[in-house]
Amino acid sequence: MTESNSNRETKPSVWRSLRNGFFFALAIITIAYAFQVTKVDLEEFRKESRQQSRVRVMRALANPDLFDFDRAETTVNSPVYLPCPGGVEPQIQREASGEAYVESLSCGAAGDVITLNGFNFPPNTDVVILFVPGNDPESTLALAKARVKSDSQGQFTAGVELPKDRESDDVQFLRSYSYKNVGTPRWSKSALNTWDKIIETVFMAFLATLLGTLLSFPLSFFAARNLMKNVRSPLASVALNLLGWPLGIWLGFQAGKFLLGISDSFAENIWMNAAGVGVSLLLIAFGARWSLSRGETDSSTMSRILTQVISIFTAALAIYAVLELGSLGMNLGLSMIESLGSFGFLGNFLFQSGDILRTITPALSALIAGGIVSSGLGRWGQSLSERLPVQTARLVNAALAAATGALLFIGIAQVLNWFYEIGNPLYIFTLPAILGALGGLTLAFLNHPKASLPIGLAVYTVTRTIVNAVRSVEAVIMAIVFVIFVGIGPFAGVMALGLHTIASLVKLYSEQVESISAGPLEAVEATGANRLQTIIYAVIPQIIPPYISYTMYRWDINVRMSTIIGITGGGGIGFLLVQNINLLDYNAASTQMLAIAIVVSLMDYVSSALREKAV
């Protein structure tokens, strides 16, 4: 036993060393190639010009442009001729400005060094000597030639070489300039800009997180395997479900547009809006109370139809109430913008919220109607497949599946047609319809007519796939697209960050749902609760703490992201930062970097403190 064991060990040990050696060589080659591709090169690093710009940029970055001062300036413009006019010898001249004066030669040849002696300048300050071409002493166009420091008596001596390509018959000037900061410091312009933009940045992150959290909360349940794996329904039900969506969406959209038309006719009058909201809310309350109070005891067909009619009417009223609420918000907001002065942003908020409400209501009512019609038809399909004899069920299944498949494929073809403008009806109607119908038929005949399909897992897979695909695109990249949709600015940034937040929170949230303890779920299900009730009473209480914690974490990330999303036009401080870097204004860029560092570390601290409290 031992012998065979040692035999077995010696043989592979050679192999193992060979294999290890191979992997070692592979690792070295990989690293070497990485060096080549990323152009690792210290020669460039050591270059004289690199060193100079390094020093310049690092010093500029270390001096954020935060404060401005009033300046007490001293300027002396000494006239100089270049070259000396014919026959005139250079002579010492004195040029004064207030107390200060400068002595220098009155002319010189190109390349000559002229000495300037300054007196009564502010003591111990930098003096810059500039050559001012042309004959205007006030000109701001000037070439810096030398920089010296005045002594304690306010005197300085500087040698300036006259430029070689600025010869002229006119008088030109040598300007001696120094300044001193006086008075109290005030915030610099770039500090004020930075403040504006950092506020914008934080609120971009806030809005994106809010939007993302609200939408990803319901979506996360569809991406949780433990909730979805038991959702199964027969083919007839699935097919009718899918067929119900377009029908319901169409009905809902028409209803939404119709109601929008009605509410538009009262859109101008604020009192009509308020009355509309009030009356419809009252009617909704009555309707809801009446239909909810119907117990399951009273289930005659007449009363059930009546209940459904009243429910539909109540739903329509609810949509109308939302529309009127939107108008009310817009009108109220408009009047508030004018009357509230500096609190006008509250009015703007009302106006924009109203606008959003009115814009999304038809879409929302279409979605809701789609859901209702689809689930109604689905339930009908369920009972059909339970009641019908096997042979009939097979036929019904085949017909429904073929219709659904055809519709689904035509829908996909329409989307493709929109993108690629195919236009040929053979490819966008006939072929997809035939292919889809064949696919549906195959599915119908492969399955037992009463078998239930794992539709929950299908929804789970689709949700997960979409979410993962969206998540793999960084928000900065998404901002490029949204900039085209809604224009350059913070709104595009909010949309991009919001979308990315939805994608990543759905994943994080759904993993939390997957890790809840299954006991309570089982217990609540055993009481006869339906799926919605099970989620509300057994799932949600268990996931609240991790949800809060992840939301905080995401807000933290969003603040970080929104500081750079401006790079692609998405608003916020990143826009300013990139602008200043491109203008080579590193002092201003440093101000923005400082602001980012402060905000991100503050957010980091606050979010971790809050998270600790929440869990």
């Binding site: 809801a288 909810l292 369920q382 009972s383 339970e386 006991g519 309570p520 089982e522 217990a523 609540v524 299900e525 055993a526 009481t527 006869g528 609760a529 339906n530 919605l532 009730q533 509300i536 009473y537 057994a538 209480p541 268990q542 609240i544 703490p545």
Partner: protein
């Protein structure tokens, strides 16, 4: 009356949990289900309200085929079958009252559940159920603040809220000490005797079986190996049920 006919359950992966189990339970009986751990007791109880779908076989309850019920019918069946669990299965972060009220969900309009509302009569009923299991003062505690025995009483109160005709108790006392075990069993016994609720209860200890059960069925590796009165379990039967190496302790 509850009747199980040829219940067989094969889990995904091929584990044969139940093989051809048939038995009937008359209304109002206290039936104990015994057997080793892993013998299929929990699976059997869950097959009755289809928390686990049996692979084949049928469950009849008052003449209705539970195994063929549609999802909607199944909900109506489940709400008359209370269930009590070994690990209590309360929602820890919710209030005791909310946990008890959850037993009423099958009777509640889902639209009300959406905004977390129960009717006044349901809330009144929940307080009565808590009083009945002896913890009327714990309604506003969080469920995880209660001791094990108290948590199981909340579990029983939740089952009571369903106005059950049957209670399925899956090793309700396995996580409790002997004193608490008897107190919980007494609650189940009282519900059985006073309300005429049929109880199916899986148990580990034979002394509990002798004390509380009207009748016993025993499972061994997913097969029904004994059906009869508690008194009929002699040493020979005992070894058949628990294997020949087993020793009686209780």
């Amino acid at each position: 009356m509850l009747e199980a006919r040829n219940i067989t359950k094969v889990y995904e992966g091929g584990v044969q949990a139940l093989t051809d189990v048939s038995f009937t339970v008359p209304k109002g009986q206290f039936l104990a289900v015994i057997g080793l751990s892993g013998s299929g007791k929990s699976t059997l109880l869950r097959c009755i309200n289809r928390l686990i779908e049996p692979t084949s076989g049928q469950i009849f309850w008052n003449g209705q085929d539970v195994t063929a019920a549609s999802p909607e019918e199944l909900r109506r069946i489940r709400r008359r079958i209370g269930m009590v669990f070994q690990s209590f299965n309360l929602v820890h972060r919710s209030k005791v009252l909310t946990n008890v009220l959850a037993g009423r969900l099958g009777y509640t309009n889902p639209a009300w559940s959406l905004i977390n509302r129960f009717s006044k009569t349901d809330i009144e009923k929940a307080h009565q159920a808590l009083a009945r299991v002896g913890i009327p003062d714990k309604a506003d505690y969080r469920a995880d603040e209660l001791s094990g025995g108290q948590q199981q009483r909340v579990g029983i109160a939740r089952a009571l809220m369903q106005d059950p005709e049957i209670i399925l108790a899956d090793e309700p006392v396995a996580s409790l000490d002997p004193v608490l075990a008897h107190s919980i069993m007494k609650h189940l016994e009282r519900i059985n005797k006073e309300d005429g609720v049929t109880v199916l209860c899986s148990l580990h200890f034979l002394d509990l079986v002798h004390k509380y059960a009207d009748r016993v069925i025993a499972l061994n590796q997913g097969r029904l190996v004994f059906e009869g009165l508690p008194g009929e379990i002699d040493d020979k039967k005992f070894k058949e049920i628990y294997g020949r190496d087993a020793e009686r302790v209780g």
